[in-house]
Symmetry: C2
Subunit: 456 residues, 2 copies
Amino acid sequence: MNRTTALRNPIFNTCSASRRATSVASSVATSQQLPSVIATRRDFSKITAKKHVSNVTNFKIIESTLREGEQFANAFFTTDKKLEIATLLDDFGVEYIELTSPAASAQSLHDCQKVAALPLKKSKTLTHIRCTMEDAKLAIESGVDGIDLVFGTSSVLREFSHGKDIEYIIDQATKVINYVKDSGKEVRFSSEDSFRSDIVDLLKIYSSVNKLKVDRVGIADTVGVASPLQVMEMVKTIRGVVDCDIEFHAHNDTGCAIANSFVALEHGVTHIDTSILGIGERNGITPLGGFVARMYSVDREYVKNKYNLKLLRELENLVADCVSVQVPFNNYITGYTAFTHKAGIHAKAILNNPETYEILSPEDFGMQRYVHIAHRLTGWNAVKSRAQQLNLELTDDEVKEVTRRIKQLADVKNQSMEDVDAVLRSFHSEVTKNEMSHHVGIALANGHTPNFFANP
Amino acid sequence: MNRTTALRNPIFNTCSASRRATSVASSVATSQQLPSVIATRRDFSKITAKKHVSNVTNFKIIESTLREGEQFANAFFTTDKKLEIATLLDDFGVEYIELTSPAASAQSLHDCQKVAALPLKKSKTLTHIRCTMEDAKLAIESGVDGIDLVFGTSSVLREFSHGKDIEYIIDQATKVINYVKDSGKEVRFSSEDSFRSDIVDLLKIYSSVNKLKVDRVGIADTVGVASPLQVMEMVKTIRGVVDCDIEFHAHNDTGCAIANSFVALEHGVTHIDTSILGIGERNGITPLGGFVARMYSVDREYVKNKYNLKLLRELENLVADCVSVQVPFNNYITGYTAFTHKAGIHAKAILNNPETYEILSPEDFGMQRYVHIAHRLTGWNAVKSRAQQLNLELTDDEVKEVTRRIKQLADVKNQSMEDVDAVLRSFHSEVTKNEMSHHVGIALANGHTPNFFANP
């Protein structure tokens, strides 16, 4: 795919939706005037936001399993587990590992020091603290590479949580940011509940901390309320105010965390927060696996070169075990049905070319494709493929006949793959016997010794 | 919330993102010129797409558990289960129930007839078939209210699946649509894999079937490849070509199904396909629960009036049991941690006002909020609230002291709520004893009989 050309696709810049039929002609005309690369694949899956702000192929992951994830109801990470998870995340290749504040408890401080002292190959360590001098002092002493400051900015948080006004927030932020910068650490300043914060307040705060030369500002959808277009507008607005990097943190209460993270990258965000299996407060945040699936679907090579994708399953199993949950049946990439194809029409096409119904290649993630044929929606193409795997030779008409039998059985009760294999074998032996007697009959009539192994 | 005013919010119409600081001033100025209703809540969570195309508060659900869901690897629905699920979906209030094609198997035809014959209060029945006269004939005979036709339109499907060209597709569609319309049934025509289809081909097909007066056209992200802005552009383009309703079907391979469905509604789509727990091919489609959470977060009253939200958990348990999966730990709304609050700072605010960290009210879904305090991230406000629930009177200083003890214990090993309650009770009795001896000492020194039950 020629990304640069696709990114210039004028369809993306269409400004007004009109219900009038007159717009049809112009849409078609526009498409027909596209450069030739586009003309050959004028499909919408190639369209992304404008190149000059998009970081879809230039982003960093802040992996927060050891911070946001520790806020998951079931989470209790021992020091050893934290070290194991951090090491595996580094092997996977995330750019940052975020840790619980050393101010949370004595053990949290100790663990922060231990993880920060690991000889990591790629990942930098961060800790996430309240914007106070006490927390910042502890954080610096813990030895992490960078410090993520957070302050609640929404009116509802200011009224019911800390009760501070915007001037106080900026004053406090200035003190703490200067203090952290003097220590030589990387520093981020984030608002909390950004989408329910007053935009004027937010812009005041972000432009103030931008002047202090923070490394990043953070936008957080703390309650999972934002929609993709709200994220687009928010990011565009803030991108216009700051020249530092921008981090995005998305909760998933209403199912938009991955999509919102993607839209944020398209419009100028540089860093995305994730956790393994999405664990975090309530139903969690952007899951590492799902986010990787999304980014891989846009630029496979970039993602494959950046991360060791085959470690994803191990990371998820490790964390699932640690926090006593099962990997959800419908989990991205590693869920046990993620590469299972069932409907007859799907199975046929998948057997011809996996790209028909797969945008993720299972082998890139150390997974396998499975074409499920033991059910009433099955089709004869899939059954034929299974017969071939079992080395049972059948004509197309015979395959169609045995497919009818499988559908009949599957209509009565759930069938296992073993059940279907048994039907295939018994049908094949039935057919072979018939042919044998047929051959024997013909051979004997012709005075020949029959060849029982001739192809039907 | 005043939706009409919010929808006019000029921030949404900001056209160009600029990294130059000069845009700050104008953004701020624009916000300051907003009407007064907006001025009081200038937050981004109130911004949605333009009213004249948005169907965010005017949509219908096509519930496809008994069609797409039957394509889930584990699914085997007996006739009785289908009837039970359809009846409960009707009680919940979905507008449509979509069923597996009667052409799939003899039992599928029988089940279609049975569900179509149910005395449903609200839901209409549909069946989803290939665009052929044979399938259409069976579908009409099954007695459903409407028929969903599908044809693969992407070049990859045309090459590797059915091999038909666009003219053939339009010819075939015309025949079948006219035939279904003559029977008086509702009819939809959908492309398959719309986002990898040539947009010129799609517009030809949609405008042709629109002239035949189909009730709906369908857009399908069959492989889960679409991003929110691609959906926006696709829907706007097709909205300009047809005047009928538009249905949207989203797979979730890269985590955008719910967000894409939402963006589709914002730009003119009228019907959204869902399944319970999202079950379907591979890792499935837009889940009913997650979609409802999203829509509820935008207009609570509309969603509450339209659907019996308290039945969601029962529907999910029924289907999970039927297809032998567990409801995912992080499931929307009904996952067991969806309303659990853990971090000290969150717990404090939630106790003051649940809106601080909740955009969904648990009671509307028959669920309960849970503030988790048995861990090292706990805070004294949450501990104080628990002490009050247990009727243990403690001063703020005492609560802070017992919170330190709880954090110490939780640093060593995972604590249960019972463990914490035991610590609270033992601490309270310790404190009370000390106070008693203190009171006794003072009282005796003053020559009084001590009052053991005085407040400390």
